[in-house]
């Protein structure tokens, strides 16, 4: 599949939140305010891009030649945890402003299933190194898009009257469900029409 195809697939058609349910915990947890949602979104894009690249390198250059691919789960989790820590240290050193904006979200990302999810999906789909990187980036963009839309809606919902049992999380789920219905318009047929 072409790179454009991968991007459209992971941003719209297989949006991680609305069709794959990966990364729902931060999606519900951090979508109360727009600014924190944007911070989380960019942190996720960053980590997902590099995590899928790093896990590709380790899987194809270390695990496969050594016949250790049954260690996939353990290795990937450790690689992602280390990578998040590394990214945190690098950002702290290079750009204190960026660190201030993303810092608190980075540790949360380790247990974000979207990151491990994209790494595992890229391996299952036999992507190349650059394709994995692009897929990670696109899935991150899809997450940003979803969480940005969601936080905008939830900020409006705060000022509206909501039936008491629905306040907080339930209404967020119902909203996400309606958004997922809208995202059903993006399907494989659309991709075929766009890039043939």
């Amino acid at each position: 599949m072409s790179y454009v195809g991968i991007i459209i697939t992971f941003v719209f058609i297989n949006n991680f939140i609305f069709t794959q349910f990966l990364g729902l915990c931060p999606f519900i947890g951090v979508s109360r305010r727009i600014d924190s949602a944007v911070g989380m979104g960019f942190a996720v894009i960053f980590v997902m891009s590099f995590a899928s690249l790093a896990t590709w390198i380790i899987y194809n250059l270390a695990l496969i030649p050594l016949n250790l691919d049954f260690l996939q789960t353990i290795t990937f989790v450790l690689v992602i945890a280390t990578l998040v820590q590394l990214v945190e240290m690098v950002i702290q050193k290079m750009s204190p402003v960026l660190y201030k904006a993303l810092g608190i979200y980075l540790p949360l990302i380790t247990t974000n299933c979207a990151v491990l999810g994209i790494a595992l999906i890229a391996v299952r789909k036999n992507y190349g190194a650059l394709e994995s990187f692009v897929a990670g980036f696109a899935a991150g963009v899809g997450f940003l898009l979803a969480i940005l839309l969601m936080s905008s809606i939830r900020e409006r919902l705060d000022t509206e009257w909501v039936p008491k049992p629905f306040r907080g999380v339930p209404i967020a789920f119902v909203t996400a469900g309606l958004m997922a219905m809208a995202f059903m318009a993006f399907d494989m047929g659309l991709l075929k029409n766009l890039i043939g």
Partner: protein
């Protein structure tokens, strides 16, 4: 002892009350059989990790405890994943990456950190069983609603001895099911509505006590 078991099923149900481990809950709740398979996998991993964390709690240094827990959990997840691929390939295929994703399921790390690292073996086992069964029940409930409404049938394990092919068709509903509920969007709606229902029950109970 029994309290720890029932705690996970009702009062601290991981899915409905403390909202942990949502991603697999939604993704594998398309069919009842998937929900049950996932539930068994989670119970096994939770039992294994809670047991090991509880046994090793005096040997694991405070500072590196989270990576240690993750390695313990990942080992059990690998066991489940490989066993499922070997003995239940079709189930493994329909659960997809979500078997491996049990490793980042917050319920398991959460119980290791919040319960097993502070309690003895016996209560950790009971806690794991309670939480695991609570998770499975919640997951099965969601899958049952989605499958009955969304495709008008219930898929279970096939038992060839009595000629049961594993599917229960529900008359009328299977002719014209509400397909939306079976789609991803339906999963989000069902969970939102169920959570609202639980909130309503809870507030009503509180009102009754007052």
């Amino acid at each position: 002892m029994l309290k720890q078991f029932t705690n996970g099923i009702f009062k601290e149900n991981p899915v409905f009350i403390i909202l942990l481990g949502l991603c697999p809950t939604l993704a594998v709740s398309t069919q009842v059989v998937n929900a049950l398979g996932m539930g068994v996998a989670v119970i096994f991993v939770l039992l294994g990790s809670n047991m090991f964390v509880s046994l090793l709690k005096d040997f694991i240094p405070e500072k590196v405890r989270i990576p240690c827990y993750i390695i313990i959990i990942a080992s059990f997840v690998t066991i489940v994943d490989l066993a499922m691929r070997a003995y239940a390939p079709s189930l493994s295929k329909s659960l997809g990456v979500f078997v491996q994703l049990i490793v980042v399921n917050c319920i398991i790390l959460g119980r290791a950190e919040a319960f097993a690292s502070k309690n003895n073996l016996k209560s950790s086992v009971m806690d794991a069983l309670g939480m695991g069964v609570g998770f499975t029940l919640a997951l099965t409930l969601i899958a049952l609603i989605r499958e009955v409404v969304g495709s008008g049938k219930i898929t279970l394990f096939a038992i060839h001895a009595i000629g049961f092919n594993g599917e229960i068709n529900i008359p009328y509903l299977s002719d014209s099911p509400i397909r939306m509920i079976g789609y991803p969007a339906g999963a989000l709606l069902v969970v939102g509505l169920l959570k609202a229902l639980f909130n309503w029950f809870e507030s009503r109970n509180k009102g009754a006590i007052k």
